[in-house]
Amino acid sequence: MATGRTTLNHCRLYADGYDLSGYARWFGPLTWEYHEADLTATMGDAVKGYLPDMPTIGVGTLAAVLDTTAGVGITIMETIDSRIVTAPIGIRAAPAAGDPCWCGEFLQLGYHGEESGGAAVINIPFGNWNSSGAVPAVANEKPWGVLLYPKTTPANTFDGPSVNNGAATTNGAVAYLQSFLNTANYTLTIEHSATGAFAGEEATLLTFTEIGANITAERKAVTGDVRQYLRFCGVKNAPGPLTVAVAIVRL
């Protein structure tokens, strides 16, 4: 995993189990802005003071080229829906485990065909968080996490790379699974470890519900302790291919 600066060329955007990166021209802005509640006591304070109130978090607009390839083109977004979005930011290379990742469940507000310099393009505006999400509301306040498992097609039962998060937390986490292809039956889990050894001291942090659904996404929250090191694991229960990507936001 590299660190430092990067370009849009190395970003990806996944929504509900679809990799839209091959059609996307740009997306964003990735807004995370708090309303500033003015709490100035004018008769007593030396300077104006504020506290962050409710944040606005949004994935902005996805701008893509129109591609009608059956089942894989941007046309799969024609149906307006709430979308579980994962946007890993690769650092001067394809996204790798540990890279920054923007995550959330946002309302898709449209599917607009437009002309741009002679090209037929599609603009997909997204709105705010989907308020019907089942996870605790506090989990909606933080959109930035890390990519735990880059988009991969494992051959069999697998243990993903260990990602060091710098420290443990007691605030819980929200994990995002993008399942691009899953005709097999996998048990998919995230394990956490205090040492990173994963030599028996690790424990299961969460188990995804989706084990055999093709082209889907899942958002799963856990509360309490999350140890410093995390990895994504899969146990193959039945034959068939699997292609997934997983990100996690520690709260």
Partner: protein, 161 residues
Amino acid sequence: MAVNTGRTTFKHVLFVIDDSGGTLRAIPINSLSVVGVTYEELDLTAWMDAVKNALPSMPDAPIEIGGPFDSTVVAAVPNLSGSHTVLSAINGLMVPLTLDVKFGIRQTYQEGEPQFGITATATAGYLCTKYTVDPSTMMYSARFVLFPGSTLPAWGTASET
């Protein structure tokens, strides 16, 4: 190096902010709003006055920055830490932060050269209220405002701590 006096350029400006653990970090910027305290002007003019007049009312000192998205791990000042590494962990935190804008005079900032900021206490300092990234340019924008009841940030010639 000895303290320089005279004019300078933004190449020598360093933006320093506490990370989520309370350690000062310098992050890359390529835009910076007005730095300083601005007072509201309260117009107290009466019809029969000879000229419009006013008094300074409440001051404010918000600061907005922008710069390249950068995931570099944190490093000791004056080395640059990653903007994303620092800002993604402090946006929305209710803990006052030390903020220091250091104006190096034709060189890397030296103690004795001008700076603007505030050293955080439990009741004074800045809060980060915005961290937005535009992937099309891979630039971020961020905003800082003062904690309620905070003391005034000020110009000085010694780094905030």
